[in-house]
């Protein structure tokens, strides 16, 4: 990693006076393969500030968001003595995974308008429906924060000499497939001054890929195969026990 930093430094020296302040960043890996024994993965995000223009304190924000999907949030209520699902609200789009890693507290680094513009903090990253849904989106965030799918890690981006930065993003074991958008922002005085985006591709590989593809593309064969395995296992166990006994 030290080598990568040195390389970035050299590149920066070679281009002394570009017009605009920018950010150069990369990931330790842009593909994550889910194998049968997958139990999470850690990705290193690293980069540097290009053509620093200001003396105002620098902030770095890194966000990783999984594929967005519509979510039905249901609320239970007591009716005739039993607890049943009563109200339901559809949240138009919520990322399956959303982690933000920053150098400072988000509210110190961004004005609310800038936060809304770049959809950075967790509530802003969720697109609620047209209805009045505050209570339901809060519940969605709470449940996903408790299960570790949503999180804000304040102060976990390491910034050196106001130029080089790096951070670790931990991807959990219960990851779903898809493209994970990774965004890197530089902030000064509550405003985003530079940004870059890249994608981490998460996909099943090997046996996992094969089973998943078979289940969706040849469902009948998959079903018959599942039954065949069940019957064979049932017979096998019976045969083994008979052998042991007799």
């Amino acid at each position: 990693m030290r080598g990568a930093f040195a390389l970035i430094g050299l590149v920066l020296l070679a281009f002394p006076a570009m017009a605009q302040e920018g950010v150069v960043a990369d990931l330790s890996q842009s593909r994550v393969g889910i194998t049968a024994t997958f139990d999470g993965s850690e990705i290193l995000v690293f980069g540097a500030v290009k053509d620093a223009k200001s003396e105002a304190p620098l902030g770095v924000i890194i966000s990783v968001s999984g594929p967005a999907e519509p979510i039905m949030v249901r609320k239970k209520a007591r009716k005739a003595g039993v607890w049943v699902n009563s109200e339901a609200v559809k949240v138009a789009a919520a990322p399956s995974f959303y982690h933000v890693v920053t150098t400072h507290p988000l509210e110190d680094m961004l004005t609310p308008a800038q936060d809304a513009r770049y959809a950075l903090s967790i509530p802003k990253a969720i697109r609620a429906g047209a209805e009045n849904t505050a209570e339901f989106t809060e519940a969605l965030i709470r449940i996903r924060e408790e299960s570790g799918l949503y999180a804000v890690h304040t102060g976990e981006v390491t910034l050196k000499e106001n130029t080089l930065f790096r951070a670790h993003i931990a991807l959990p074991a219960n990851l779903t497939e898809g493209s994970y958008l990774t965004r890197i922002f530089l902030t000064r005085d509550g405003r985003v001054v530079a940004r870059q985006a890249t994608t981490i591709h998460v996909s099943k590989v090997g046996l996992e890929r094969w089973i998943y593809a078979l289940a969706h593309e040849r469902p009948f064969i998959y079903g018959v195969l599942s039954l065949a395995i069940a019957i064979a296992a049932g017979w096998g166990a019976s045969a083994i026990f008979r052998y042991i006994k007799g």
Partner: protein, 306 residues
């Protein structure tokens, strides 16, 4: 050892799943129930999405029931003829049940209906069986008291189309078994289980079959019902997880063999009282779930196709 399940898309401990399968397998072999009413809630608890849990437990039940049936076949405690008659009723019932289920799903609140169904049926069956077997045990302890004669000629025996069921030692009309099979088929499709816990008491108390024969015959019926369910889920919802099923059924088939061996060492009424106790326990847990205030009022589900 953590393992990532390809369809459920979660990572769980492989040994935990083996243990769960084994536990349910033992019960399956002992009592002739598929264990669907037990394993599905347990899988929810482990964190498997409900749709995958329901479909995959059907697949695992096929394995443990098959293993159990083979053990019973060798003991000649399976009434093949009765099994076929029940199955005819069962398949018609399952088709009607799927139809009813779809209507109810259109109305919403299908979860509530399923839970209420469980509580009502488990509660009634558990309580009836419990008291009946308690009486039976008391009777066997005091051999002095007069045994009430078994009703040899109830309404069940007054119907036409009689058939000889040699293994069960019965000569009765085929109408009651077909009706029992039908009722179980309907409920099984609505509640998403094999229906053994309804079938077993129905065979004992309505058809008057001997307890030992009931278990093997029930397992035979369960294989076909759950096999059919597995195929249906695999082709319509893509929710059968092969890796999850494999782990569960390795535990399940071994458990079923052990369960069958425990079962033959127990007396019929002991077996019945244990099953009754278990049925009442599950019923109580589900009822509490409905009556107590949940710690999290909200629940999430991904909307639309997966």
């Amino acid at each position: 050892m953590q393992i990532y399940l390809p369809i459920a898309e979660v990572s769980v401990n492989a040994f935990l799943l083996l243990g769960l399968g084994g536990l349910v397998g033992i019960l399956s072999g002992m009592f002739g129930v598929g264990g669907g009413f037990l394993i599905t809630p347990l899988l929810f608890f482990v964190g498997i999405p409900p749709a995958v849990a329901v479909a995959t437990s059907a697949n695992q039940i096929v394995a443990s029931s098959f293993s159990g049936v083979l053990a019973h076949l060798r003991r000649k405690t399976v009434d093949m003829r009765m099994g076929v008659v029940l199955m005819v009723g069962g398949l018609i019932g399952a088709a009607v049940g799927v139809y009813v289920f779809n209507i109810l799903r259109g109305l919403g609140q299908v979860d509530l209906l399923v839970t209420v169904c469980y509580v009502v049926f488990l509660g009634i069956i558990g309580t009836l069986m419990f008291f009946e077997s308690l009486r039976a045990i008391r009777r066997s302890r005091n051999p002095g008291t007069k045994l009430p004669p078994r009703r040899k000629h109830g309404w069940v025996h007054a119907l036409p189309l009689k058939m000889k069921f040699r293994t069960s030692g019965l000569y009765i009309s085929v109408i009651p078994p077909i009706l029992v099979g039908f009722a179980v088929g309907v409920l099984a499709a609505i509640m998403g289980v094999g229906g053994g816990f309804i079938m077993v008491p129905a065979m004992i108390y309505i058809l008057g079959m001997p307890t030992k024969v009931v278990i093997g015959t029930s397992l035979l019926q369960i294989i076909f019902v759950t096999g059919f369910t597995t195929l249906l889920h695999a082709t319509t919802n893509y929710t059968v997880d092969m890796a999850l099923a494999l782990l569960l059924l390795i535990g399940g088939v071994l458990g079923a063999q052990i369960g069958t061996r425990i079962g033959v060492h127990l007396k019929a009424e002991q077996l019945r009282i244990l099953l009754a106790g278990m049925v009442m326990l599950v019923c109580g847990m589900l009822a509490l779930d409905l009556l107590l205030k949940p710690s999290e009022l909200y629940s999430l589900s991904v909307w639309g196709a997966r």
